[in-house]
């Protein structure tokens, strides 16, 4: 779950990580009289907001209202701006970078810090990034902050501030099951204070059962992906025109890849998962139909999900939703012959192997295109 900057900063405040004075608005009328000059920061879940013109500065209220109005009318990389974070403008001396994420290979939390903040960390030379892997059974210990401070060339007063900040970041990272806690830039102000000018927090979606206070943000999904999520389908919208229904994430990906190798572009990823339910199969169709594909390809390797169950679901869907699009089905595995017979009886092409299925899709596509 990606958090908006202001939501991440609320967590920062809760864990004692300093952030600029500020407030969130949903309407330009909500601009207050008390904090100026301000930065007006569009709240979107996509990166690269600054370059896309999503941040503006204002010295007084009228100016702020005008600029907020402008920001609310914009879309940033396709996302509508629903919130603006209004923050006291900082007197920036230096911009640093610090983050904690999970290193999958080493199976440890990874702290990264750099004196070159304010730019995407991927663009920073690796030699200029300090990395330290935390043993999860030891956790944070102050020696880590000492090393980070040294690499960032901090003076003793700033080192003290950083030590608190990093300790609190790790506590937040652990307490809220974060996949990422990133502060970029971490600002040293001309007054000598260290302050989190931005926040990027990703909370593990699988941990939300124990974090009821974490907001559910679905703004980074497409409309169809949101509907699919409510119905518990694993669904990703793509930009092609072949609808895909398959079982298992790996097999579904392999199906998309095979189509692409034939020059066919998939419209979606839809994984039925490991169930044996006619309804789950049937209800996947309206979702794919909403994406308006030209052909639907169903690719099933039957195990727990039995091929005849899938066939019944397809036949029911075809009747119930009046599907006139070509449907090509590949069924292999448990009860495959029964399944293919059910489909044949209902005039649906069914094949035993994936290459045959994909070839049939390609043949039909030539005809309809």
């Amino acid at each position: 779950m990606n958090l908006y900057e202001f939501q991440g900063k609320e967590l920062f405040k809760k864990f004692g990580i300093p952030v600029p004075d500020g407030y969130v608005i949903q309407d330009p009328k909500e601009i207050r009289d008390d904090i100026f000059p301000v930065a007006l920061k569009s709240q979107v879940l996509v990166g690269g907001r600054g370059k896309a013109g999503g941040i503006k500065f204002a010295d007084n209220k009228n100016d702020a209202i005008a600029k907020a109005t402008e920001l609310f009318s914009q879309t940033i990389k396709g996302s509508k701006v629903k919130y603006i974070l209004v923050e006291r403008k900082l007197n920036i001396d230096k911009e640093l970078y610090i983050s904690i994420t999970i290193d999958r290979g080493k199976k440890r939390p990874l702290v990264m810090a750099s004196a070159e903040g304010g730019v995407e960390i991927e663009t920073v030379e690796e030699s200029k990034i300090y990395m330290h892997w935390i043993d999860p059974l030891i956790g944070y210990s102050p020696y880590l902050s000492k090393m980070v401070s040294k690499k960032l060339n901090l003076n003793s007063e700033q080192s003290k501030q950083l030590s608190n900040l990093l300790k609190n970041m790790y506590t937040l990272f652990q307490t809220y099951d974060c996949e990422l806690v990133e502060i970029n830039p971490l600002v040293i102000t001309k007054e000598g204070n260290i302050i989190a000018a931005d926040s990027k927090v990703i909370v593990d979606s699988d941990s939300l059962f124990r974090h009821k206070d974490v907001p559910v943000n679905l703004d980074d999904l497409t409309d169809l992906e949101r509907i699919a999520k409510m119905q518990d389908y694993s669904f990703v919208e793509l930009d092609g025109d072949i609808g895909v229904i398959a079982n298992g994430a790996g097999l579904t990906m392999a199906t998309l890849d095979s189509l692409l190798l034939h020059g066919l572009k998939p419209r979606n990823f839809l994984d039925l998962g490991g169930t044996d339910s006619v309804d789950i199969v049937k209800n996947a169709f309206p979702l794919v139909l909403k994406a308006q594909p030209k052909i639907i390809f169903v690719n099933i390797f039957g195990g727990v999900t039995k091929c005849d169950t899938v066939a019944q679901g397809i036949v029911l869907a075809k009747k119930e939703y009046n599907i006139n699009l070509p449907i090509v089905v590949r069924l292999n595995g448990v009860h495959e012959e029964e399944g293919r017979q059910i489909l044949k009886d209902n005039g649906i092409d069914a094949f035993a192997t994936m290459p045959e299925g994909v070839a049939k899709v390609a043949e039909i596509y030539k005809g309809v295109h």
């Binding site: 999970i102 999958r104 290979g105 199976k107 440890r108 939390p109 960390i121 991927e122 043993d135 999860p136 059974l137 652990q174 099951d177 996949e179 593990d204 699988d206 941990s207 059962f209 124990r210 694993s234 990703v236 793509l238 079982n247 298992g248 994430a249 790996g250 097999l251 579904t252 990906m253 392999a254 998309l256 890849d257 095979s258 189509l259 692409l260 190798l261 998939p266 990823f269 994984d271 490991g274 390797f301 195990g303 727990v304 292999n332 595995g333 448990v334 192997t353 994936m354 290459p355």
Partner: protein
């Protein structure tokens, strides 16, 4: 064979659940020695003849050495530590959606005790027809000398069946799990296979996300001298989108299929364009 054999005594934590009961029975049919099931409050019952106990500790007289955990995600950590404390040496977690911080912690603790962790969120391990711990369909296997190591479930079955249908067979098939943090890496398993007699060739079934395939390629280049072929799912996946598995995501330019295919090719591993090409690539290598 690696990790398990005919003598492996298996318990199933969560045996009275729908999944636990079904797969425990399938495991018995395959030949696995399932000695007990655990379901708190249900001691004295049995599931298809498998005795049920309230806790792992109460099964210790049966000398179990491996467990399959099939409990809801919020309870996995507790079940895992219960097995670990009881001295179980191989822990397989079937459950999907285990919080990643729980996995980090569980796997770190298991490592200090030398306990093998398979999963979470994978189909388990099968050694035809000695033993199977997990949910792979029984009918797709033939005893043979190809090891399959995979991050997927269904795609693994597809490839195993293609190997079986082509006349070859499998030595060990292991599903590492679809999560970002799992117990075993490709490299961990290759190290076991290196001097294992039955295995003559290995198949890696990878997917986008992380760098486990790239690391395996490094190991193969320097240390692993049996033939290896591979398939990588997710060539068509857009960056930043989770493709079903929690671990199948390209983040910040890392974990692309291109990078994995390139690394494997450089290590002399042929990567199949389609899953069904695996048997012919294997035959070519084994000639």
């Amino acid at each position: 064979m690696v990790f398990i054999n005919k003598n492996t005594k298996v318990i199933v934590q969560g045996i009275t659940g729908h999944q636990g009961a079904f797969h425990a029975n399938e495991m018995v049919k395959f030949g696995t020695n399932v000695v007990a099931g655990i379901s708190p409050g249900k001691a004295g019952q049995n599931v298809n003849g498998i005795p049920v106990f309230d806790s792992v500790e109460e099964t210790l007289h049966l000398e179990p050495n491996a467990t399959m955990i099939s409990v809801p995600a919020p309870y996995v950590k507790d079940a895992f530590y219960e097995a670990l404390d009881a001295g179980i040496k191989l822990i397989y977690v079937l459950t999907e959606h285990v919080p990643v911080h729980d996995s980090l912690e569980m796997i770190s603790v298991a490592k200090t005790k030398g306990v093998i962790v398979i999963g979470p969120n994978g189909p388990g391990i099968t050694v035809p027809f000695d033993s199977k711990i997990g949910i792979m369909p029984n009918h797709i296997f033939r005893k043979g000398n190809v090891a399959v190591i995979s991050r997927s479930g269904t795609l693994t079955y597809e490839i195993v069946k293609a190997i079986t249908d082509s006349g070859m067979g499998e030595s060990t098939v292991i599903g590492l799990g679809g999560d970002a943090i799992v117990g075993l890496s490709f490299t961990d398993v290759l190290k076991e296979l290196k001097n294992e007699r039955r295995t003559k060739a290995a198949v890696l079934v990878g997917e986008i996300g992380g760098t486990a395939e790239e690391e395996a390629a490094e190991y193969i280049k320097s240390e692993f001298h049996k033939p290896v072929v591979a398939y990588i799912a997710g060539r068509s996946a857009p960056p930043g989108k989770r493709m079903g598995h929690a671990g199948a995501i390209i983040t910040r330019g890392k974990g692309t299929a291109e990078s994995k295919i390139k690394a494997l090719n450089e290590a002399g591993v042929e990567v199949a364009a389609y899953p069904q090409d695996i048997p012919s690539l294997l035959k070519k290598k084994l000639q």
